[in-house]
């Protein structure tokens, strides 16, 4: 259990020199995740920003065993690796204690990979599935995914006279995961490193499948200054749009308390993808935050 920043390990398992954009919080999130794992992991990565930018041939940024796959089968391959390791241990051919971890983007989780994910969760493999969510297909040029929030502009949900941007709402991934009856699922954000790292530790230690949904603000796709990534993540939590909670064997618990919420306007006005929206849409997004607040017990809006 990590309590302060001084407790966190010094080891870096994601080497510098990867080609993620300057100011990309995925780098921050993956550094924190791998620090928490202690290096005893096999990482499975579906096609995503993270995959293309950490494995420019002939170089790699990974210092842990790592395998790259197509969008759709990361959870299936992780399940296979987990079964293979189990079989080797059973036959006495290996005594290594490796955990299996998937790190996949929102496209590879919410849209293309959800069938494999559902299968792996249902079969009860001992793996940790981490979805880092930058709310669109950033790697291919900011196309909408089913994780894109209401009213956000992407290249395939452009705003205009007859469009408000994205018309649909974000899927509840943790809800989908819990519906499989898995022991542990949680949301996290790299702006709260201790919280994120403790959740990774818990997800790895728990027997059976676990899922972590991490919000990673994207400087290129959300259209904000590269230095603001961590602050925007923090505002997402403080406005109630991204409540940090965990579901541990059916018990839901808020892990970061928000006694006084910020109005969502503060979060939206920093991002270029919400530049077009009217008062009407802002009110609708505020309603989403209010619903979250009611559901998870966040405080009232700051005056």
């Amino acid at each position: 259990m990590f309590k302060t920043i001084k407790d966190l390990p010094r080891d870096e398992y994601l080497a510098p020199g990867h080609r993620l954009c300057a100011g990309c919080t995925v780098g921050t999130a993956v550094r924190q995740i791998l620090k928490a794992s202690g290096g005893n992991v096999v990482v499975v990565t579906a096609t995503s920003c993270l995959e293309v930018s950490t494995s420019y041939f002939p170089q790699t940024a990974w210092r842990v065993p790592w395998i790259h796959l197509g969008f759709e089968n990361s959870a299936a391959v992780a399940a296979g690796i987990e079964s293979a390791l189990k079989a080797l241990r059973k036959k006495g051919k290996s005594n290594e204690d490796f955990h299996v971890m998937v790190i996949s983007g929102d496209g590879g989780t919410f849209d293309i990979g959800i069938q494999a994910l559902s299968g792996a969760l249902e079969r009860g493999h001992d793996l940790l599935y981490i979805c880092y969510d930058n709310e669109a297909y950033m790697n291919t040029g900011i196309q909408r995914s089913s994780a894109t929030p209401y009213a956000a502009a992407t290249t395939t949900s452009p705003p205009g006279a007859r469009s408000i941007g994205q018309r649909t709402h974000k899927k509840d991934l943790v809800g989908i995961a819990i519906a499989h009856g898995i022991p542990y699922a949680a949301t996290a954000c790299p702006s709260y490193p201790i919280d994120l790292m403790n959740k990774v530790r818990k997800g790895l230690d728990v027997e059976g499948p676990s899922l972590l949904h991490v919000l990673t603000p994207c400087t290129t796709g959300w259209r904000f200054d590269p230095s603001l990534g961590i602050e925007i993540g923090r505002l997402a939590v403080l406005t109630g749009l991204w409540p940090l909670y965990e579901v541990d064997r059916g018990v839901t618990r808020l892990t970061v308390q928000v006694p006084k919420r910020e109005p969502v306007r503060k979060y939206l006005e920093l991002q270029g993808r919400f530049k077009h929206i009217s008062e009407n849409e802002i009110n609708k997004i505020q309603e989403i935050a209010d619903k979250n607040a009611e559901k998870f017990g966040l405080g009232p809006i700051k005056e």
Binding site: P16, H18, A22, S227
Partner: protein, 92 residues
């Protein structure tokens, strides 16, 4: 960069973490400068840096490794005592 004749057969990468050979410093417009007198050694810049460009020494002091820094400025924003300033690189 190695030519294809020097690379292992089968497109294998045999050295983990060899991306450190790549120089990201050329991406940078602004350079972080850390004022060690103001620094309270809280470690926030170190844990929030997306690159791992902030070095945490054994004595809990911090410094910036400029060869890994892309100049995003997250460290400056995360510093509560304003010990980090972003300075424009010369020749740009």
């Amino acid at each position: 960069m190695k030519s294809w004749k020097e690379l292992p057969i089968g497109a294998m990468i045999i050295e983990p973490g060899n991306s450190i050979e790549y120089n990201v410093a050329q991406w940078r417009v602004f350079r972080p400068v850390l004022d060690k007198n103001k620094c309270t050694k809280c470690g926030l810049c170190w844990i929030f840096c997306p690159e791992g460009a902030i070095v945490r020494n054994e004595d809990e002091s911090y410094e910036v490794n400029l060869s890994f820094c892309k100049g995003c400025g997250i460290c400056q924003r995360s510093c509560n005592v304003k010990a980090i300033t972003m300075i424009k690189e010369e020749g740009l």
